[in-house]
């Protein structure tokens, strides 16, 4: 007998899946791929394809509803789960199950993945729409306070601030046309609090959330809307995506920046305007921050040593050495390790007490490493070495070894930092039930959406070859 507690989320999920399926179906109709779906039932009719597609969408949506209910996902966290859920079904559906059902080889190779890139984008739209509609249908789902006008204005201010910074840094200084960022930044800044609410969170998790949000913005505003507005039709082809890669780093940095500035502005507003100290931080930053800084430096050094293997084998150290006007690999190694420690310290500042197990340490570390590939490897390193940001397909392709190094660096950084923190001040040992409740609440909030963010980081990283290879 089916439990009533499962029926409601499954039904809501199915309805939301239908909505997501409608969006995805419209895109498939525009792209002309519905007959492929119809081939599952040995047909080539568009109507049959749409019917099959909607049936699958409702079923998969019901699964999403059950998953969200089982994981107690909060309203503001559902969007990322929807995105990762859609991405997961791209792997399982078009790349794996559909070929098997049709008796064809698995589509796991890069050429097929590139050919199926429109399907990936469609699946992400499906997941996002399903999540948003599910939230709308299930208003009883727990979540934080709803955003107010002030929060929305804070988001706009954050968007404009980051857009201005990127514009001043890379349009005026490096000659990359970024005037469009002001409009996108305003809209993205407005959308951030509307989607995720005004709740307080740590700066580090916010930055990772913002990076994923930036990727979502790129898909919508960078990849989907321009051809739709210009030609009245979608163009999610690999070629179109490859040309849109030029703007992907800017979107990622914009998203991360919006999340950070939005969080900091919230903290500043609380510090200035809130007179009830209970609403402010209990622990002063200096109380344990210095030890955390040392841990961050040590963890960063470890990650830097791991990264050094890649740097040495691809002969990238001389490029790093140019940051200080030198050319010798030894100087490059020293500079690289110093930078690794500085980033490690920043990781400690941003992610202190946000790792609750080794998996979450690695998750935050890998995500932070990816963010630094965009900010450091693609942007700051070439600029500081006298060049331009590598914000194009060729530059991203050339920097792929650096992506590998940054991910390995992040993994080592997050894992070592978690171990050091757990050794010195483990989160799971508390002096009172009150403190335990507070920490459990923090853990639940932090890990509520974190796995989806880590998964999205992995998805973005593995999408890079799809976008730029060939």
């Amino acid at each position: 007998m089916t439990s009533p507690s499962l029926v409601r989320p499954a039904a809501a999920g199915a309805a939301a899946g239908m909505a997501g399926g409608a969006v995805f179906g419209a895109a498939m109709a525009s792209l002309g791929t519905l007959p492929t779906v119809a081939s599952i039932v040995r047909s080539d009719s568009v109507a049959v394809g749409l019917a099959v597609h909607m049936g699958i969408a409702a079923t998969v949506g019901a699964g999403f509803g059950l998953f969200v209910a089982n994981q107690h996902v909060r309203r503001s966290e559902t969007l990322f789960w929807g995105l990762i859920y859609g991405g997961f079904w791209w792997f399982l559906g078009p790349l794996t199950m559909l070929p098997l059902v049709l008796g064809k080889p698995l589509a796991w190779d890069l050429a097929n993945a590139q050919a199926l890139l429109p399907s990936l984008i469609g699946h992400l739209f499906y997941g996002a729409t399903t999540a948003l509609v599910f939230v709308a249908l299930r208003r009883d789902t727990g979540g934080g306070p709803r955003p107010r006008l002030g929060t929305a204005l804070r988001g706009v201010a954050a968007g404009l601030t980051v857009a201005a910074l990127l514009y001043l840094g890379f349009d005026r200084m490096a000659g990359i046309p970024l005037g469009w960022l002001f409009l996108v930044g305003t809209l993205a800044g407005l959308g951030y609090p509307l989607l995720f609410g005004p709740r307080r969170e740590g700066s580090g998790p916010a930055a990772i959330r913002g990076t994923a949000y930036g990727f979502l913005c790129w898909i919508v505003a960078g990849l989907t809307l321009p051809p739709l507005l210009r030609d009245g039709a979608l163009n999610w082809s690999r070629e179109a995506a490859a040309s849109a890669v030029d703007r992907l780093p800017a979107y990622l940095l914009l998203g991360a920046g919006i999340a950070l500035v939005f969080t900091w502005l919230g903290g500043l507003a609380r510090w200035l305007l809130v007179d009830d100290v209970r609403m402010l931080r209990v622990e002063s930053p200096g109380a344990r921050g210095l030890r955390a800084t040392g841990h961050g430096a040590l963890a960063g050094l470890t990650g830097g040593l791991v990264f050094s293997v890649v740097m040495v084998l691809v002969d990238a150290l001389p490029q790093v050495a140019r940051l200080v006007g030198a050319q010798a690999p030894g100087a490059g190694l020293v500079v690289h390790l110093v930078i690794a420690q500085i980033i490690g310290v920043s990781y400690a500042v941003l992610f202190r007490r946000r790792s609750f197990d080794l998996a979450s340490g690695i998750g935050w570390g890998v995500s932070y490493g990816f963010l630094w590939w965009v900010l450091g490897g693609l942007t700051l390193l070439p600029v500081l070495a006298g060049g331009e940001p590598q914000w194009n397909a060729a530059g991203v392709a050339a920097a792929f070894p650096s992506l590998v190094g940054h991910l390995a660096y992040g993994a080592a950084l997050g894992a070592v930092y978690y171990q050091l923190e757990a050794r010195a001040n483990p989160w799971w040992i508390t002096r009172s039930e009150f403190e335990a409740e507070r920490i459990v609440a923090l853990r639940d909030q932090t890990l509520g959406s974190a796995p989806a963010l880590w998964g999205l980081t992995a998805l973005i990283a593995l999408t890079i070859p799809v976008l730029i290879s060939g």
Partner: protein, 611 residues
């Protein structure tokens, strides 16, 4: 662990348990690798993946097993952890792809890894397979461990908290706090202990700088570190232990006005330090100032400033004026030498505020029973200190003792009577009075005699460290260790290790330590130090003193505050604000005739050996 709440399933796992996790993870990785690998093999994706004689599926099986082991180590049971586990598996899959297929596989084939976009494109099927495998393995591992955790919860009879050994530490000084810190570290390594620290002061007092508080050079709270901040995972009880029942293994805690509470223990660590010992000399306890805790230092500073205020205008009687401006310190050890030097600096440092007092009027006298001061240091350094202090005008009465004290003067054993309103007693200490209530074996000074492993003689499950214990040095034929802070610190660590050893069925180790060095500050830019046989004096020793003790001060915050105090001291005169009501509170030590409370844990040694 000593916390009230402990998420037991998160505790650090020992090596065998970690091996078990890896083993289960490897098995799960192999199981989930089978369908993924079979699918790849069926599709012909593994045909060209062989290395030498190893067939194409070999590397994938190797990868699946290794990745599974890594996922087993990384992904442990969580109450809401399916998503975390699966995501962790996906991340391990991504990293495994980077490490195995883009790196190790290339190396095994004799190629140099390039990590280029072309290499990534070539290995893209493995990336998809690894992410799928990782996610599945993470979910399976989570299922395995959540099932095991549920089973262990239902089968294990008593809750974890009931299995913890109860350790009670009495005293929050260097020894007690050091033991608590060590217990925290041991608990993180899996020791099943529940630690309660009891102290009647909720901070650790850094006694080497106490004289500077008395002289107004440092703020009182800057040389004190809160116990709760120092041992964040230890249960702390602010109160005094009234008595100890070693048969019933309980201590009686008095906290505020609440009735006495009996706290049970399995092992008791006594670190109650020492209290001033007045040798039953008439009037000494009633009229002598001591320098053992913050209150003493604040009281003494206010008293001196108050006397200067009186002497400046209000005192016409020359005899009384002499009393007001004469400062007598008894004891030529570290505490006495530092006290007289700091009183000298304080008085002359603020004298410009008091135009009615001539620069030659203040008189400082140090009384010491031996023929040279600072007997812990070499004769040369003792003579150096004596010479420097004498050169400033400080008088010494060597080879005589204080015989009697009154509100008017101090009588010495040679019959000399020194008129004074300020008499500082640093010439004797004894273990905290709580020690005397125990049945164990006591040394001549009342300290609890222990064996070399810090176990109190003739007492079951009672351990003692610091000034309240007499601990034989096995390397020196049982000669007791000196009661210094550096010894107490290390004894605290050893006693925690030894208790953990006993709980684990192992033999406790003997305490072994050689004194690192001795430093004494002699006032303005001068000190004497002896470190590992090397002698320092003058400005170099003073810089050494400040550097070493600043580094030893607990907590970066306190270090910064003290450093700031010292820097400000260079630019501004010392404060002469009286923080007590004049004149009643500032002119008497306000000490009862007999100790009314158990010992405050302090760290000074007999005859002022406070290092």
């Amino acid at each position: 662990m000593s916390g009230a709440a402990n998420f037991g399933s998160q505790s650090r796992r020992e090596l065998p348990a970690r091996m078990g996790l890896a083993g289960w993870g490897a098995a799960a990785g192999l199981v989930t690798g089978l369908p993924v690998g079979a699918l790849m093999g069926y599709q012909g994706m593994l045909a060209d993946r062989g290395i030498g004689a190893i067939p194409g599926w070999g590397p994938f099986v190797l990868y699946a097993t290794a990745a599974g082991a890594a996922i087993g180590l990384v992904v442990a049971y969580r109450p809401r952890g399916l998503a975390v586990a699966a995501s962790g598996g996906v991340l391990i899959g991504l990293l495994g792809w980077l490490f195995f297929w883009l790196t190790l596989d290339r190396v095994l084939r004799g190629q140099t890894p390039t990590w280029s976009i072309l290499a990534a494109a070539e290995a893209y099927p493995e990336l998809v397979a690894d992410l799928l495998h990782g996610g599945l393995t993470g979910a399976v591992v989570h299922g395995l461990f959540s099932r095991r955790a549920r089973r262990s919860r239902s089968e294990s009879a008593p809750p974890e908290s009931e299995q913890l050994a109860r350790v009670v530490i009495v005293g929050g000084g260097f020894g007690g706090l050091s033991a608590a810190k060590r217990f925290e570290r041991l608990a993180l390594r899996g020791a099943a202990i529940d630690v309660t620290l009891i102290s009647d002061s909720n901070f650790l007092l850094f006694t080497p700088m106490l004289a500077e508080v008395a002289s107004g050079a440092l703020e009182p709270s800057h040389i004190s570190a809160p116990v709760r901040a120092a041992v964040v995972h230890t249960r702390f009880r602010h109160g005094a232990v009234e008595d100890i029942d070693t048969d019933g293994r309980t201590v009686s805690l008095i906290a505020g006005s609440a009735p006495a509470e009996r706290i049970p223990y399995d092992h008791l660590v006594l670190a109650v330090g020492s209290v001033p010992h007045f040798l039953d000399l008439p009037g000494v306890q009633a009229h002598g100032y001591t320098l053992k805790d913050l209150n003493d230092a604040i009281l003494l500073r206010n008293h001196v400033i108050g006397l200067l205020e009186r002497a400046d205008h209000m005192e016409p009687d020359p005899r009384e004026r002499e009393r007001l401006l004469t400062f007598v310190v008894a004891g030529g050890g570290f505490a006495g030498a530092e006290a007289v030097a700091e009183l000298f600096d304080l008085t002359h440092g603020v004298l410009h505020y008091f135009p009615g007092i001539g620069p030659d009027e203040p008189r400082f006298v140090l009384v010491h029973s031996r023929d040279r001061i600072l007997p812990e240091l070499s004769a040369e350094l003792g003579a150096y200190a004596l010479g420097r202090l004498r050169a400033r005008g400080i008088e010494f009465r060597l080879g005589v003792r204080v015989a009697e004290a009154s509100a008017q003067d101090v009588l010495l054993s040679d019959g000399e009577r020194i008129p004074t309103r300020t008499f500082v007693w640093t010439a004797g200490n004894r273990p905290g009075p709580l020690v005397a209530t125990l049945d164990g074996e006591h040394a001549g000074n009342g300290a609890l005699v222990t064996d070399s492993a810090l176990r109190a003689a003739r007492l079951e499950r009672v351990w003692a460290v610091g000034d309240c214990a007499q601990i034989p040095d096995v390397d020196l034929d049982g000669v007791p260790f000196p009661p210094t802070a550096q010894h107490a610190l290390r004894q605290g660590k050893v006693v925690a290790d030894n208790i953990a050893a006993v709980l684990g069925g192992r033999t406790p180790a003997a305490f072994r330590f050689r004194t690192l060095g001795l430093l004494v500050a002699l006032g303005h830019r001068t000190a004497a130090a002896e470190i590992r046989g090397h002698r320092f004096s003058g400005l170099a020793a003073w810089l050494l003193w400040r550097g070493i003790y600043l580094a030893k001060l607990p907590g970066i915050e306190k270090r910064l505050r003290v450093l700031l105090d010292w820097v400000l001291d260079l630019a501004f005169p010392r404060d002469i604000v009286l923080t007590t009501r004049y004149p009643t509170e500032s002119t008497t030590p306000a000490r009862p005739a007999a100790p009314a409370r158990p010992a405050r844990p302090t760290r000074s040694a007999p005859d002022g050996q406070s290092r």
